[in-house]
Symmetry: C3
Subunit: 321 residues, 3 copies
Amino acid sequence: MDKFFSVADIDDLDTVVQEALSLKANPYNWRELGKNRTLGLVFLNPSLRTRLSTQKAAMSLGMDVMVINMDKEGWALETQDGVIMNGTTVEHIREAAAVMGEYCDILGLRSFPSLKDKVADYTEELFNKFVKFCRVPVVSLESATRHPLQSLTDLITITEHKKVAKPKVVLAWAPHVKALPQAVPNSFSEWMCKAQEQGLVDYTIAHPAGYELSEEFTTGADIVNDLDEALEKADFVYIKNWSSYKEYGQVYPVQGDWLMTNQKLGLTNDAKVMHCLPVRRDLELSSEILDGPNSLVIKEAGNRVWAAQVVLKRMLENLKK
Amino acid sequence: MDKFFSVADIDDLDTVVQEALSLKANPYNWRELGKNRTLGLVFLNPSLRTRLSTQKAAMSLGMDVMVINMDKEGWALETQDGVIMNGTTVEHIREAAAVMGEYCDILGLRSFPSLKDKVADYTEELFNKFVKFCRVPVVSLESATRHPLQSLTDLITITEHKKVAKPKVVLAWAPHVKALPQAVPNSFSEWMCKAQEQGLVDYTIAHPAGYELSEEFTTGADIVNDLDEALEKADFVYIKNWSSYKEYGQVYPVQGDWLMTNQKLGLTNDAKVMHCLPVRRDLELSSEILDGPNSLVIKEAGNRVWAAQVVLKRMLENLKK
Amino acid sequence: MDKFFSVADIDDLDTVVQEALSLKANPYNWRELGKNRTLGLVFLNPSLRTRLSTQKAAMSLGMDVMVINMDKEGWALETQDGVIMNGTTVEHIREAAAVMGEYCDILGLRSFPSLKDKVADYTEELFNKFVKFCRVPVVSLESATRHPLQSLTDLITITEHKKVAKPKVVLAWAPHVKALPQAVPNSFSEWMCKAQEQGLVDYTIAHPAGYELSEEFTTGADIVNDLDEALEKADFVYIKNWSSYKEYGQVYPVQGDWLMTNQKLGLTNDAKVMHCLPVRRDLELSSEILDGPNSLVIKEAGNRVWAAQVVLKRMLENLKK
């Protein structure tokens, strides 16, 4: 594996999930694999879970880890070619990425979308340039349009907790106070659509009109605007806010009640509730659910380690010795 | 040891001090004990000595260490229950602590008091919620009312440098330009009062009227408002500023000269001078003392490592293997 | 080696370069040397390459590494003696350096010049005080007047890529939008002047009138104000901006075109082009050069690891076991 950016970088989903679960059972069996290998984690935006879980996964594999918080250090990168750099950007991504590639065997990159320039965001300009110029394997720590370590985590968590061979999984839009990226729902959807193709889940998306995701991520999903309808017989409900894709980055007033509560949970098949965190309590998801027996959110966050570890393990195995 | 928060978490003071001194003599004998164990150091406030000494102690025990500077990353935590999170806090402490507990075998937490809400500060609301929700052993890196790693360090330093079996130890208030917490003097006092009970020291506190500490920390101490009287026959003088407990967080003008100088040192039994650092030179403590033979402040700061190491060692030994 | 601050800390330049190249060939042969040794990297100013390359070098030597970003943490140091610390500085360098020396076997320090107080900058007041008070070996991560790890890197890079025994090396001033320190050109010059003495290079400096460097760094160099003249028969061209030394920290309008381009490269002996990075594209150095076959800037940045590693290796060997 030279890049971990989307579900397309994984062939057989269940195989990678089983490998992750074997790492969860024996996390430290591979300390020799990462010896004398360095992981650089580059953050252009803040991170809590992603940084900690990936750092932990790499250390458990015996790797040395360096964290680079470029957002905190005012190290503004130029991404455009052909500009005379006489302004506020201090270094071009061509040099910055190449230099970090000199110091690291594998790099991770986190970069949020602008939510203003749809084309730049959806062509993944920054991530792709970073991959091109750094010349080492790159794992996405969330990019403009995807958060693949989260989605792999979610599939691991569903696999661990499913009670039927092919559970019904529902992605449900929820309110928020800010305009959030589509990265998590895009990514979850492309993983669930592929999981559906491979016979692992049935996948439904529920959101208010106007919040349609880009079709490239949702092909095969059942898409409805009625939350109650979606929840019927659901085995897993995945709660997440996102801003509009069509009117890019906009937030509309919505009709109806999209806050997930125990009452709504009564419509499901005693569904487990998931969220990528951080969650706004009683705005996206009720406290009664989060503190109750149906919530998987902490276990889900814990599983971030095994998603990161299986990806790094595959990348390490692929490195030329 | 499941928690290191106050002197109540240690039974026999001299035993833990001797164990710390044996680690100082042989710091790297326990590299296997911490192997495949991760320490997370969570800072809601800045730290220099505490971070470095605890990180060093953990690495010497073979642990992997992750530092989480939540104060620098704008990751504002919600600590109240029952609020709809539609404001500026991005994550509830229930989730944040639980998630960090998923990634770490032991956590450290630094959190300063508000100095505004006495009840919230003195019930240690934040620290206690963190302990409750993270579900792994927690070592205080200074909380609203205590700084136990500093106090254990101080007892180690007194033990190393005492010339008599039961030295006279004086905590002396000193001026400052800012309103500082009571955590260090509270904590030093509860450790010295217990040390006095166990026959290790005689303990006196000197401060201007109005700067009384909460009685829960000072039972058994000799408390005076006359610095010269307190210094008589002192073997150790511990200099520290704090703001008022009674008029919570306030700073009063004081009468008399509370700056510690060589002249005042002449009243003592050639006392050694201690301070937890950072120290304001010639405001709290004169340069002539800091640069002279009676100062222990650098050795004291160095001993922070062994306090942290003995606490982490005991926690590691207590973890289910 | 107790200090790495200037070229005076190295006797035979080619010997240290060959040792660095042997580490590049076998980076992990010395993992035992740094075991149970801690490196503290103290930054009073931002760093990307220096932090990553030094951290990587130390980890490859088996050291534990602690990074201390004092600039980000608002931990303002007092450097003057005899002042009553009742202002904004929270700790004196006497205590801060001494404490960090308690926790680390070797320290690195980065500190930029004020560009306002020429005497304080050029007497290296801060660096020297830090060395004095911390009492452990110190490696400069760039100080007010020098950047020795960069200069050693540059000599390594020239040695690797030279096609003749004694190549002609030209330092060429280039435009910038900000007033930059003289540290990199000073340091490069003192290393190249010594290399010239030891028969390794011929050294020329080209800059506009008014941008003369301090003579203590340039003795023996051929200094010209005509870039075209300097470039003739050059084997290596080192591009760098700096502000005036004479009119300290000032920036003048310059006559002529000092942007390095392929056209100017045509005047050379197919020279390789170097820059310490970050580089302002098409202001200091044209994109066509940076993206073309004559640029060494990425390989040069990569070589930072081996410069740091050879210096740390020598310091570790010198530590009392």
